[in-house]
Amino acid sequence: MNAMANTSSMASRLSATGTANALELRGVSKFFGALAAMQDITLTVKPGERRAVLGSNGAGKTTLFNCITGDFLPTSGVVRMFGEDVTKFPPHDRIRRGLRRTYQISLLFGGLTVIDNVYLACRGVSRNRFSLIRPGRSDALMHAAADLIEAVHLTDVHDTLVSELSYGQQRQLEIALALAGAPRFILFDEPAAGLSPTERRDLIDILNNLPGHMGYIIIEHDMDVALRVAESVTMMHNGRIFKEGKPEEIEADPEVQELYLGGGFTHG
């Protein structure tokens, strides 16, 4: 199934790899009834680019992610991934093309163990999703899953039920799920929220150690974290893009400062 999807879009992607943007949104809007959660968003992100999205609660950041992954279909507009129009694709087709995401509120399988969760993630982006044979001693995905668990420092709770993990550990697991397979582009939805300073440092290390070709967008309130993990910033407000630029520019921008006077960001 995967292989078929691959060949059918091979042509468009071959031409795409070198030149095309990782993501390209044109005039994307999302309405919930009369509420415009996101309006006329036009955005391009290059392969390997690392971008932070900032904005107050309700600015439409998570909605932006949902429209990119296909969790929601946009009300209007076009979403392109690596040159391919994916606007109408179901989420799994986008994931199989290399997109990944984490959720702001952890969406994990609480009744399964840590290794089961990560194994499911690895299996989801590989073949034999319908396999009736239990994974064996030499199952490559099982090793890949164990490696991912190590990468996010969860080896100690390898066999623990996810519902028994601490909040911070669940956030780490969210990230492990998004790193499964060979991601080409990842969307992180407030991965640092609620983490302790140590956990935050670990997170920054994980992000900075990702291979260079792996671009991402990270939604992050903490300017300090954003500055360390992103090379460009998009600022959202009331469902629209308010400012785009280098982190320093955004931070120094008088309009931004006015908008967020009295809080929103913590410095240093």
Partner: protein, 365 residues
């Protein structure tokens, strides 16, 4: 991990295992050996009536309820069409194979008729699944119930193919290896064998990638999509396996009764399968079999019981209903849940702290 049923919680692979690891005999706990031995020795312990009409029937109903448990317990899809799938296999066997209705039955040999019956019934169940999987919860129940009742009325009104009201009689198992499989002891072993195969398959698949992903779909369909799974395809595939199990049970059922008619898969029997699964418990594959034996015992002996307390014997449904109510009231996860809680209480008080996990919303929206 063994042929125990730690399906919900056991790691796929705490230590490296091989694909057959789930079936390693050494790790089967004692109670299972005990139950297994009793089931194997049953023909010397009970009479032919108990063997054939009670245990044979219970194993068959248990298989059909198992197919519902697979969809409901692992997939979160409550299907009321499982009895109709079983009945469709029974009908197809009667139509393609031999029966007393010679003007309709084609009389093909069993080794042609049985595969055809299994394929058609599985296709029917899968098609129903394909219609049902886009709905959720109560709507899944309603759409499968609608298809089950459509099947009932269709078989009752269609005389060309289904012989209408009277259906087919004289459907018997083939005489193979010189054994008359309709005799209580051979038939009991035949059903025991297939029930065990179905049970072990469901148990095994629940820890294979397909079964694990199905439980993922049940718990969190949206996240499964975001991990690259085609949730709809996965749900439909679950119907394929469930329908096949129900179809095998349907073949055994028509041999047990010697006949199949619209009443085999009326609304009553369709709902009885749900009742059986719920009485036993939907969380584990053994639940439906426990539910089935309770149901069959009630059905078989309620009549005498009702008459003895001065009620009409036909009201056995009342007794089934009361037992059902009591179980749903006292233990929403069935007899199995009741037993588990009792065992946990006996084991240690420390277990209580394990309960705390329910407070942590690990798998919340």
């Amino acid at each position: 991990m063994a042929v125990t049923e730690d399906t919900g919680t056991a790691p796929i692979n705490g230590k490296p295992q091989s694909w057959w690891s789930g079936l390693s005999l050494a790790s089967v706990p004692t109670p299972y050996w005990f139950v297994g031995a009793i089931l194997l020795l049953l023909p010397v312990l009970v009479g032919p009536f108990m063997l054939f009409q009670v245990f044979g029937w219970a194993l068959i109903l248990g298989m059909i309820a198992l197919s519902l448990m697979f969809l409901g317990g692992y997939g979160g899809m409550v299907s009321l069409v499982q009895m109709s799938v079983a009945a469709s296999a029974a009908y197809m066997l009667a139509i393609f194979g031999e029966s007393a209705i010679t003007q309709i039955s084609l009389g093909w040999p069993w080794w042609v008729a049985i595969p055809i019956a299994l394929i058609i019934a599985t296709a029917f169940g899968t098609l129903t699944g394909a219609l049902a999987v886009r709905t959720e919860g109560i709507y899944t129940i309603m759409i499968t119930l609608a298809i089950a009742s459509a099947f009932f009325y269709f078989t009752r009104q269609n005389y060309v193919l289904f012989n209408g009201f009277s259906g087919f009689n004289g459907v018997t198992p083939p005489e193979l290896f010189g054994v008359d499989w309709r005799q209580p002891t051979p038939f009991y072993y035949l059903t025991l064998f297939w029930a065990a195969v179905a049970y072990l398959s469901v148990l095994y698949v629940s820890r294979a990638p397909f079964g694990l992903a199905l439980q993922g779909v049940r718990d969190n369909a949206r996240r499964m999509e975001a991990l690259g799974y085609n949730v709809t395809a996965h749900r439909i595939a679950a119907y394929v396996l469930a329908s096949f199990i129900a179809a095998v049970a349907g073949i055994l059922l028509v041999w047990l009764n010697g006949q199949v008619s619209p009443g085999t898969a009326g609304i009553g029997p369709a709902i009885d399968i749900l009742i059986i699964a719920v009485i036993g418990g939907l969380a584990r594959p053994v639940g439906p079999f426990i539910g089935a034996i309770i149901y069959v015992l009630l059905r078989t002996f309620a009549l005498d019981f009702m008459v003895s307390i001065g009620l009409s014997g036909e009201r056995f449904q009342l007794l089934v209903g009361v037992v059902f109510l009591a179980i749903v009231f006292w233990s929403p996860d069935g007899i199995l849940g009741l037993w588990e809680r009792w065992r946990n209480r006996m084991n240690s008080t420390d277990r209580l702290t394990g309960k705390a996990r329910d407070n942590d919303g690990g798998s919340e929206v």
